[in-house]
Amino acid sequence: MKRLLHPPLILGTIVLAGVVVMALLAQRLFPGDPMDMVAVPFTWPGQDETVPLGSDLMGRDLLAGIFHGARVSLLVGASAATIALTIGVTIGAISGFYGGAADAALGRITEFFQTIPAFLLAVILVAIMRPSIGTIILALGISSWTGVARLVRAEFLTLREREFVRASEALGASDLHLITREILPNALTPILASTGILVAQAILSEAGLSFLGLGDPNLISWGSMIGIGRDALRTGWYMSAIPGAAIMLTVVALNFLSDGLHAVLSPRTSLRNA
């Protein structure tokens, strides 16, 4: 598979794999609560070898925070993206496949969600439901499915008219078969490619919520670390910069992955009838 040697794809995969490993090893390398005070506050990176990345203004180990924060970020990113995909694919598939009244009704619902700024909706939902990791995931999932729905709908509209779908229909296949076995596998490439962006968006939004103090108060996340570091931005900028870099690297890696997948999976323009 020579085509898999796509530089951004490889780079994205490596960085993301690193983040996953960090999340998996967090409990083993840093047992105990990362919220505990373990060092002198305001220890700069490199000052004290017990806390290589320094400590924040409450004396918490930043390295432990980064590792434990990776767990939250990945969990929120993956779960919220799953919810968004489930809603988006279902609504998009039904709209595109059936068209007509179903499409019109679902189109209205999609537009309704599109007109509300996604992040604002997430803030409101979390504020109403009280912040916890579950409610954050739910809020982010509910507020970010519209793009997927529109993408899937467009794919279904064109694939619906293809001859192989008609052929299957002429054999007497059920709608469920047509949707899940004939059309969806052919729409998978763009959906897969957009998933990376979806995860990246969820990670960013979670960081945003945590920064605003709407994160899960019992868990440390990259966003909440920046939120805490904000108070000491002038005296200890590293407290915000280190978790910020972690977020940036992860999001860029996901974007690379998404781009790479798209480039590798899209059928190449073939030179038939040359």
Binding site: R162, F164, A170, L171
Partner: protein, 587 residues
């Protein structure tokens, strides 16, 4: 490789004319593949040279290499001489100046080669303004003149129309107007009529020929249709596998082909053949490759006379005053209006008509994919109109369909065994061994190897994929099969194989066919009875011989009159005129 001498007759006529295009040892290489291999050809002023061959033979690549419009990974070698100047490897700017002014091109698909957001007048004027310093008003005046030249009715008014307001044939006329805007020396027409209906095809080719005469252009006509070649070209170059197989005067192509591949190509084609070319009298010849790399023709023995006794007079399918309409009460359009006919066991009914006549809607209605707005569809004596989807399933087994596009009708994500097995599963064959036994059997029947079951659609060629489509239709042992243009997307040599296969399978399985096609030669070969459809109605229905020899309806006569290549036998020189005085004045 045989190359006959350049025929004397047209060459003599053009001795005074200058050479417009000369290709010397043209090669085109794509990574890992040579598409054109040492092609020589010469084209003189006012001459039509046809480049013929099957898909993948390098004819379109040759055309694109002249304008150097090939993808970047293509490497062109040899000499491309335009009016004595080698234009290979010119700088992009010099090439851009050349394109459209000295060499113009018409493409196959008139639907997609015009910009939908600009009026046709602007697009024609743009072609002038790119190369000449004239004012906008003058360009517009000339655009009107050009649209009149290509016979767009009421050109002065239609100049502000958008492409979607024009029919397919009219769009191709606009393309031709754009191509001839700067009076190019060379016009390259790449399958200019393949996407058009047969009656329009003749008009477009006539138009190109007329412009050639008036403007003194040379025309490089790329086509796969031997009928078109025989009727419109002066000389023919036959290509295969990137090489020239034969160069011959068009008038001699069908009569005295020298090369074995050309002979094969003509042998398998249905054009220009005699009355006995009917499935009941003989099989079609097929091209074979001989061990020494040459080509041969199988000439199978004539078929035994059809067993008339096997016919059961009770209809398998009967349509009674069937209408199909789309849209709601306000936007309602009737695409099929009151069609009635019946198909009996072992019969092939041909359905002929131009695009948009309602053929496809009719076939969808028979299959129950589109609701019938009036009338009844009766299968084996049972009215199936208005049955629920579930109640339709047992009837679906009896009526199956073969689709046109061998690339679009198979799901690329499924293996062949899944495609065929899915059909069996829907119809209650739940035992896995039984399914694989029947899949194996049907693969044998359609002439595919058993290991095809484990492979993916993209691993097969167009002809093989069409065999898979046929297998999918037949694996359920249907009684009636609707063939919707089953060979239109295939090369002639493959077309002959598939037609032979369809006839064999019909006899073996006792099938009836409804054979939909716009290609009259194919319909004539395979049908017992022919229905001619125009604007949603059946205007004539008769035995195949009656339709051909004594057509009653004017539309049938018009259709038959526009088959390309039928005039060559008695009057092959008629479309090969000299330069007209007007051309001299213009040129």
């Amino acid at each position: 490789m045989t190359t006959t001498d350049i025929p004397t007759e047209p060459a003599a006529r053009h001795t005074s004319a200058s050479t417009v295009l000369r290709l010397q040892g043209l090669t085109v290489d794509f990574p890992g593949r040579r598409a054109v291999d040492g092609l020589d050809l010469e084209l003189k002023e006012g001459e039509i040279l046809a480049l013929v061959g099957e898909s993948g033979c390098g004819k379109s690549t040759t055309a694109l290499s002249i304008l150097q419009l090939l993808p970047r990974n293509a490497v062109i070698g040899g000499r491309i001489e335009l009016a004595g100047r080698d234009i290979r490897g010119l700088k992009p700017k010099a090439l851009a100046a050349l394109r459209g002014r000295d060499v113009a091109m018409i493409f196959q698909e008139p639907m997609s080669s015009l910009n939908p957001l600009q009026t046709i007048g602007d697009q024609v004027a743009e072609a002038i303004l790119l190369h000449e310093r004239v004012s906008r008003t003058e360009a517009r005046q000339r655009a009107i003149a050009l649209l009149e030249l290509v016979k767009i009715p009421d050109a002065a008014r239609r100049i502000d129309d958008y492409p979607h307001q024009l029919s397919g044939g009219q769009r191709q006329r606009v393309m031709i107007a754009m191509a001839s805007a700067c009076r190019p020396k060379l016009l390259i027409a790449d399958e200019p009529t393949t996407a058009l209906d047969v009656t329009i095809q003749a008009e477009i080719l006539g138009l190109i020929d007329g412009l050639r005469r008036e403007l003194g252009m040379a025309v490089l006509l790329i086509t796969h249709d031997l009928g078109v070649v025989a009727q419109w070209a002066h000389r023919v170059v036959v290509m295969h596998d990137g090489r020239k197989r034969e160069e011959v005067a068009a008038s001699r192509l069908l009569v005295h082909p020298q090369d074995d591949y050309t002979q094969g190509l003509i042998g398998v084609s249905l054009h220009g053949a005699g009355d006995d070319l009917h499935y009941s009298r003989r099989r079609l010849a097929e091209i074979t490759r001989t061990p020494d790399g040459g080509f041969g023709l199988t000439r199978p023995s004539p078929r035994p006379a059809p067993r008339a006794a096997a016919r059961d007079p009770r209809p398998r399918l009967a349509l009674e005053e069937v209408s199909v309409s789309y849209g709601d009460r306000h936007t309602r359009t009737d695409v099929v209006r009151g069609v009635s006919f019946a198909v009996v066991r072992g019969e092939t009914v041909g359905l002929v008509g131009e695009s948009g006549c309602g053929k496809s809607s009719l076939s969808r209605a028979i299959l129950g994919l589109t609701p019938v707005s009036a009338g009844r569809v009766v299968v084996d004596g049972t009215d199936i109109t208005g049955l629920s989807r579930k109640a339709l399933i047992p009837w679906r087994r009896r009526i199956q369909m073969i689709f046109q596009d061998p690339f679009g009708s198979l799901n690329p994500q499924h293996r062949v065994e899944d495609i065929l097995g899915h059909a069996l599963r829907i119809h209650g064959v739940s035992d896995r061994h039984e399914r694989s036994r029947r899949i194996g059997k049907i693969l044998d029947d359609v002439g595919l190897p058993r290991d095809a079951a484990r492979r993916w659609p993209h691993e097969f060629s167009g002809g093989q994929r069409q065999r898979i489509g046929i297998a999918r239709a037949l694996v359920l042992r249907p009684e009636l099969v609707i063939c919707d243009e089953p060979v239109s997307a295939l090369d002639v040599s493959i077309q002959a194989q598939i037609l032979n296969l369809l006839v064999d399978l019909r006899d073996e399985h006792g099938l009836s066919y409804i054979f939909i096609s716009h290609d009259l030669a194919v319909v004539r070969y395979i049908s017992d009875r022919v229905l001619v459809m125009e604007r949603g109605r059946i205007v004539e229905a008769a035995d195949v011989e009656r339709i051909w020899h004594a057509p009653q309806h004017p539309y049938t006569r018009k259709l038959l009159g526009s088959i390309p290549g039928q005039h060559h036998a008695h009057d092959h020189r008629s479309p090969h005129p000299e330069h007209s005085p007007r051309a001299a004045a213009l040129g």
